[in-house]
Amino acid sequence: MSATTAVPTAARLGLAVCRFCRQVARLPAGRVDGGLCPRCGATLHVRLPDSVARTWAFLIAACALYVPANLLPVMRTSSLFGYQRDTIMSGIGFLWRSGSHGLAALVFTASVVIPLAKLLLLSYLLLTVHRRVATGARARAMLYRLLEGVGRWSMLDVFVIALLVGLLRLHALAEVEAGAGAAAFGVMAVSTMLAARSFDPRLIWDAAEAVDAPGGRHG
């Protein structure tokens, strides 16, 4: 190692870590991807290809779906008392008014807070990568880990609806059906999860080090 102050990253040393099996490999000289992992055969990449472009694509799709997911009804019930259309928010309101404050808060967190947080915070991460922000990298790394871990819980309401509809409809106990909002919401949740998966957190550190790592920002 020469006497530089540069931090030893895999990119600098011509190494790549396999994203499937964590095997560390030395890339063929001068290449940044295209080599295969010697253990599991996956294509090696120094940075996830087109990470920024893909993440933006999934985020934009999720944003586009966010509106119908919240405006369109997720559940429709008819009873003697009339026809009721429930959106995500009205379902939460129902829980709150029926006294289940804790549950209302839980569903609110899962269905409103988490998706919104993912959209806003992933956009923030992408912007800091674009602008090569150098400070606060560790905090942003932890933020990314949080977003990635918590994303699956935004699917909560989809399962609630599936169970209610499945149970009540099966036995014709109530005229209940899942609305189009449920599908929009589910696809939006999946889209945010895909967005978090396509974001390469190493880009955060590249910006902090002013390293022009190849692959990540192109496309």
Binding site: R26, L36, G41, R145, G166
Partner: protein, 222 residues
């Protein structure tokens, strides 16, 4: 001369591996990401956990999730029935999402682990081992049974306002399945699988991959 090297997947920092107790998790010094998970001293057989999970999966789907007493009748549903209903009333997207995350992804993960572990136990490298191992990694994040269990609890409480709700055997089985699959995932040691496969028949492993001649040079022996 090849000392073991660990590269952080989240910040790309290269670490020189130092001897640590086997039970310790190793984390990146710069960003805190997990580098390598610790192995507990007692070696539970991953195959046993996989088989147990599969059995539990069958049990969980065979029994009703919740039972409802309403208008004098007692009704219930299994997960599969709920999915069928969703397909039946033309909500294919929702039905596919639920089916994928509660049935397809977890089952695929369990069956893939079986596919890998059984032949190796018998001393044979299963064909397309690499593809299946990568498949396990790909499919794992899409199993969401724990979210499903919580969703059922929320739905049950919503129903409790209008009817008497009794949890069915299915929900307990699914809850146990969540724990069991977590245990299975942490016991399944991919590095050990690879070591065993390469020890048994290195060529068979490489033949199952796309093109061994394009392989990068490994930094340490696989």
């Amino acid at each position: 001369m090849a000392e073991k090297i660990l590269v952080c997947e989240q910040c790309d920092l290269v670490h020189r591996a130092v001897p640590v107790p086997a039970a310790c998790d190793q984390v990146c010094t710069r960003c805190g990401a997990l580098l390598d998970r610790g192995r507990s001293a007692s070696r539970v057989d991953p195959l046993a956990l996989v088989v147990a999970s599969l059995i539990l999966m069958v049990l969980a789907n065979a029994q009703p999730i919740v039972e409802l007493a309403i208008r004098g009748q007692s009704v219930s549903t299994t997960l599969f029935n709920a999915i069928v209903v969703l397909f039946g009333e033309e909500r294919p997207i929702v039905a596919t999402l639920v089916a994928s995350t509660t049935l397809l992804a977890p089952c695929a993960e369990l069956l893939a682990m079986c596919y890998v572990l059984l032949p190796l136990r018998a001393g044979v490298v299963p064909p397309r081992l690499s593809l299946v191992m990568r498949g396990i990694q790909t499919v794992r994040p899409w199993g969401m049974i724990e979210v499903f269990v919580l969703g059922t609890v929320v739905a049950a409480i919503k129903l409790a306002h209008v009817a008497r709700v009794v949890p069915g055997g299915g929900i307990w089985a699914f809850a146990a399945l969540v724990l069991l699959m977590a245990a299975t995932a942490s016991t399944f040691d991919a590095a050990r699988v690879w070591r065993r496969a390469f020890a048994i028949d290195r060529l068979a492993v490489l033949r199952g991959q796309q093109s061994a001649d394009r392989a990068a040079l490994s930094v340490d022996a696989p």
